[in-house]
Subunit: 191 residues, 2 copies
């Protein structure tokens, strides 16, 4: 928990976030980060003692971003159905990046879910943010007992179709599936 706001530290995190997303964590080397930032090796170690520490910071940074996004939606949209539609719209809006590199949360969890990684839980917390937020929206929209199951159903469909769009290089697959989900949201009974 540093209280300083050094630009260099932010640059490292932003570069690592991009590289981990596009190349994966294991395949991204310190040299990649050095080349991409222009910051020298020794200086990076001044801010992060290990590569794992950079990963921690990247995950924290993503968590901050997603929390801010969901918080902004909460403030702008009082209707839970509109909030769910906003989530669906976000996926559709990001379909080009999703097609190119996959879902940043999904692919990170896929990589870090493998054996001998100690970041499984912190990566999972990125999913928790959306799962809990979606659960709250489904709960206030209808049957609270089914809210969590519906949230995981929705997250799963978004992740699955993102993977298919990625594998088959087709953003329209993502748009079509999310349209089906939008129709499903429209049919849900109000509370």
């Amino acid at each position: 928990m540093k209280t300083t706001h050094g630009q260099t530290r932010e640059h490292i995190i932003e570069a690592a976030k991009l590289l981990f997303y596009r190349r994966g964590y294991a395949r991204t080397s310190f040299s990649d980060i050095v080349e991409h930032t222009g910051i020298q090796r020794g200086n990076i170690y001044h801010y992060f003692k290990t590569k794992d520490a950079i990963l921690d910071a990247v995950i924290e940074q993503r968590a901050r971003e997603y929390r801010a996004t969901l918080s902004a939606w909460d403030k702008a949209l009082p209707d839970p159905r509109d909030r769910l539609r906003r989530f669906v719209h976000m996926v559709v809006s990001n379909r080009e990046d999703l097609t190119r590199y996959g879902c940043p949360i999904g692919s990170l969890n896929t990589e870090l879910g493998k054996e001998e990684y100690r970041h499984r839980e912190s990566a999972r917390r990125l999913f928790d943010l959306f799962r809990d937020w979606l659960t709250a929206q489904f709960a206030s929209l209808g049957d609270p007992g089914q809210a969590r199951a519906r949230a995981l159903h929705l997250l799963g469909r978004a992740e699955g179709i993102s993977l298919m769009g990625h594998v088959y290089n087709d953003p329209d697959l993502i748009a079509a599936e999310m349209d089906l989900i939008g129709q499903w949201i429209d049919t849900l009974e109000p509370a």
Copy 2:
């Protein structure tokens, strides 16, 4: 295309298949394969000149297995609806492994879909096998124009819920979602 049927070569492929699945390709080293098989480094290089060549062989091996599975289903089940149900049942049956390590095809494509991998296309062909087979079943069951979209929808949902089951360590999530898919299959109009 070797015509010899050496046991050593098969041992290497089987060990690599297991390790690539559980640890990921990038994180699996030659030392891992040596330790897991008991075969010495130099001997492995007698069968495979590079690590990439082992990956090629593992993907080919998986393709052979999946083709055999689908072919067996074709022979045993004349009704396309039963064949679709058989696919759903396979996912449910594998839910423990899917929960522990994720989907072997999905996680492989997620890793190899990242930048600077030259195995993207061969990994995608594993999905092609199921996509094309599912497309054929949907086509003979009803509207052929929607068959491919339905196949990708089904594959996406299976992949997505496998990821959620993996991330949240909950095989029941997979069973529940695949049950929904089974209900959907039951409602499809016959040709």
